[in-house]
Symmetry: C2
């Protein structure tokens, strides 16, 4: 077994005991990257030389007796929205083709502090404004998209290049590629982790978080990322628990909400079936299933877009005036639409969101976690990422992928996407566990129970195309 | 001395000891109302019959041995924005000439619980969208305006009709009439008291609170009004202290911020002088004066209006479509302007507000309270409520009155307006004490120290015109 194939728990233990060095692991990861990258284009920039230097430094530090913890010497990918000091940070846009930040984003700085090695910057749908990531391919079937907007992170983790990659999630952009690429993805509570130094899509909906191969790995990364940061006014100054504590305690006694609406309309039947199987599994593990009705369901999608569009346009306004031609046509059009939205409509969307937050708080008086499919579709064809439903309607990939993720962005609730199985065609599927604000520990525990009871989690895409190549 | 002339402390004690009955007090207040109302038009609706019935009930309840506390049997005025069950609630607009709510607003319900008697509904600038209250006159000089938008409440308390009147404050609308009518006015922290059942001007800036004759009275009313209410999503679920506790502890050791900018540009020289005298008084009482610079000062006014205008237009949108002609031209024009504002501009105003909140938090690391004039002008002529400054510029009343109040609305910080003296022409002046979020107790303590060391607070307008009539 090559080092890149090991789980984080395995490699951390080997690194701690000096059985494996960060340099060996990084070399293994870079070899995997070289092998698969031509097929998936997960990376906007590969920083092999810097990574080897960081890995060498980590190796020496550990040899000298300083072991920083489970992230020490672990190679990661960083979504190209995150500023990285001295490293091109393009947001996968021609607007920032030559942008080299002076300083690291808060999350990257914290992960460096924890000892990680950065292999490179992963592709995003341009400025995170879309859910297919056209630059990149899905390692489970390279004729399909990896989801998005953190598509490069999903592809990198799904293909086994890194154990961890950072994503951002405004309407599902961590959970979507996690589900579509067969990885775990954690969107923490709004305000839990600092977004300072990360390009914004929609300031009141943006979250940062990890995509990982396993559930516990997400808890470990959140331990490093979480906490108040005065540079991000949304962050909340409250104690950060150890998110791995109690993660193996199982779901016995947990009340798991099973939505009777919204999450079951126009969803791929295989995904619906896999989600039901997860519910049955939880029940068999001692959880109590409770049917819940999603409140204000018909307003969820318009409210998300009604907030996201003008916030994105406000962020990009100056650049839209100067060099609109450097956006892709898709994103330029979205930004133009957002510029024309009236403040009264945005105000009303904010008011609706506030009512939704209250309604979801009520919902959580009866359950601890809500279980739902993460996305409505399997990986879509990269040439034409749309899906056709039983009622004959055709839905674009960004809509089909973001539709079920939006509630957790609008309410700020934490949500974890965990693999729920594979379709007959061999494509990954995912469920999301949505929890109460600041109760990441509960959804991590539920995710871990699912992981332990199944064999879906932690798989690496075999990249059959690669074998053929 | 007539009962209406007594302070709340005095009448409460007399009522508790049954030396004075709520009925006698209410009759005295209604007699005062009958005498002054033709000169000031403080009330949109007088509910004399209901008030006498409430006072009779309170008298009987107290006679039977149940004394509810310092508000039991006390006549109050209620701004006509607050819903009152079965009583016309017009917001001083033809739009709601016949609106009779089924239920009391949260604040009114809480005050009824505390035992108050409602004398009637006080005039507001139409839907609180202005700071002069054209319906109403100032009891200190009936050729002038009472300020606004809670102008009826300011006039009613200033004229001695009631000891207490409820107001609302979006850009100063409690503090402005308090300063201009010589009363105390308390805008609590954003989220401290429920706005459920109160017509909205700007949901993210609106606050409810009292105008009172004395500082302690404001603390007593806030004790009754404060607290979480799930019907107002802005309210914060946190413990409510007794706001009268420690109110007499003085200002020794308190750090009082003296702004070096923003609050000193285009302010009536008599008001500037009175404010400086208050600062000197505080220093003599043992407070430490600390010069502070108001952050992002040039953005305060545009940010307030950039948020308020579209929020107001969103609230009134349906009515504007149906019966625009029922608004006054002034308010209709403002609502039309608000409808045309783009979401991207509103988004940017919200982002600026967030930065301002952080900057003010920093400012409060060096001081406990900021002392500033409440308004820039004395009571303005009712026929032409504008002011001309030394630099030749002419400013409308709403601008001159709201300009210095806006910071506390944008940041949500609590602010208390206390009389600071009288102009040579005999018009009241006021200072505001602005505190840290949820530290109403500190500004009340500072206000009480000012009250105790001077003879400006608690005066009743003599209504010379009345004597002539």
């Amino acid at each position: 077994m090559e080092p890149y194939e090991l789980s984080l728990a395995q490699v951390s233990e080997k690194i701690r005991t000096k059985e494996l060095s960060p340099l060996e692991l990084t070399e293994s990861a870079l070899a995997r990257l070289d092998a698969v990258e031509p097929h998936i284009t997960a990376f906007a920039t590969v920083t092999a030389e810097a990574a080897l230097a960081q890995a060498t430094a980590a190796t020496e530090e550990i040899a000298a007796g300083t072991y920083r913890g489970p992230l020490h010497g672990i190679p990661i990918g960083v979504k190209d929205l995150y500023n990285t000091a001295g490293v091109r940070t393009t947001s996968s846009s021609a607007q920032r083709a030559d942008y080299v930040p002076d300083a690291d984003s808060a999350a990257v700085a914290k992960l460096y502090e924890a000892g990680v090695v950065v292999l490179g910057k992963t592709h995003t749908h341009e400025f995170a404004f879309g859910a297919t990531t056209p630059t990149t391919r899905n390692p489970w079937d390279t004729s399909t998209v990896p989801g998005g907007s953190s598509g490069g992170s999903g592809a990198a983790v799904g293909a086994g290049v890194t154990l961890i990659a950072l994503g951002s999630d405004t309407g599902g952009s961590i959970r979507i590629p996690a589900a579509v690429c067969g990885t775990v993805g954690l969107k923490p509570t709004y305000g839990r982790a600092s977004r300072a130094g990360v390009a914004s899509l929609s300031w009141s909906l943006d979250h940062v978080g990890p995509l990982t191969r396993n559930v516990t790995d997400s808890a470990i990364v959140l331990n490093a990322m979480a906490g108040y940061d005065r540079r991000d006014p949304a962050t909340v100054n409250r104690a950060v628990p150890d998110f791995t504590a109690g993660i193996n305690d199982g779901v016995a006694g947990l009340k798991i909400g099973i939505p009777t609406n919204f999450f079951n309309h126009n969803v791929d039947p295989e995904i619906t079936e896999a989600t039901a199987a997860v519910a049955a599994l939880y029940e068999s593990l001692g959880a109590e299933l409770v049917e819940v009705e999603v409140p204000m369901a018909e307003l969820l999608v318009p409210t998300l877009w009604g907030i996201m569009m003008p916030e994105a346009s406000a962020y990009h306004r100056e650049v839209m005036r100067k060099t609109p031609e450097l956006f892709t046509e898709e994103v330029r059009t979205l930004l133009q639409i957002g510029e024309s939205i009236l403040a009264v409509d945005y105000v009303n969307a904010l008011r609706v969101r506030t009512l939704m937050q209250a309604a979801w708080r009520d919902l959580y008086s009866t359950v601890d976690v809500v279980l739902a499919p993460t996305v409505a579709s399997l990986a879509l064809n990269a040439e034409n990422p749309v899906t056709t439903w039983g009622d004959g309607s055709v839905e674009g990939g960004t809509s089909a992928y973001s539709r079920l993720c939006g509630p957790a962005n609008l309410t700020g609730m934490p949500a974890l996407s965990v693999p729920s199985g594979f379709s007959k065609s061999g494509l990954p599927m995912g469920v999301q566990l949505i929890g109460r604000p600041f109760e990441e520990s509960v959804i991590l525990r539920a995710g871990r129970a699912l992981e332990e009871a199944t064999d879906f989690v932690g798989r690496i895409a075999p990249l059959k195309d690669l074998a053929l190549a």
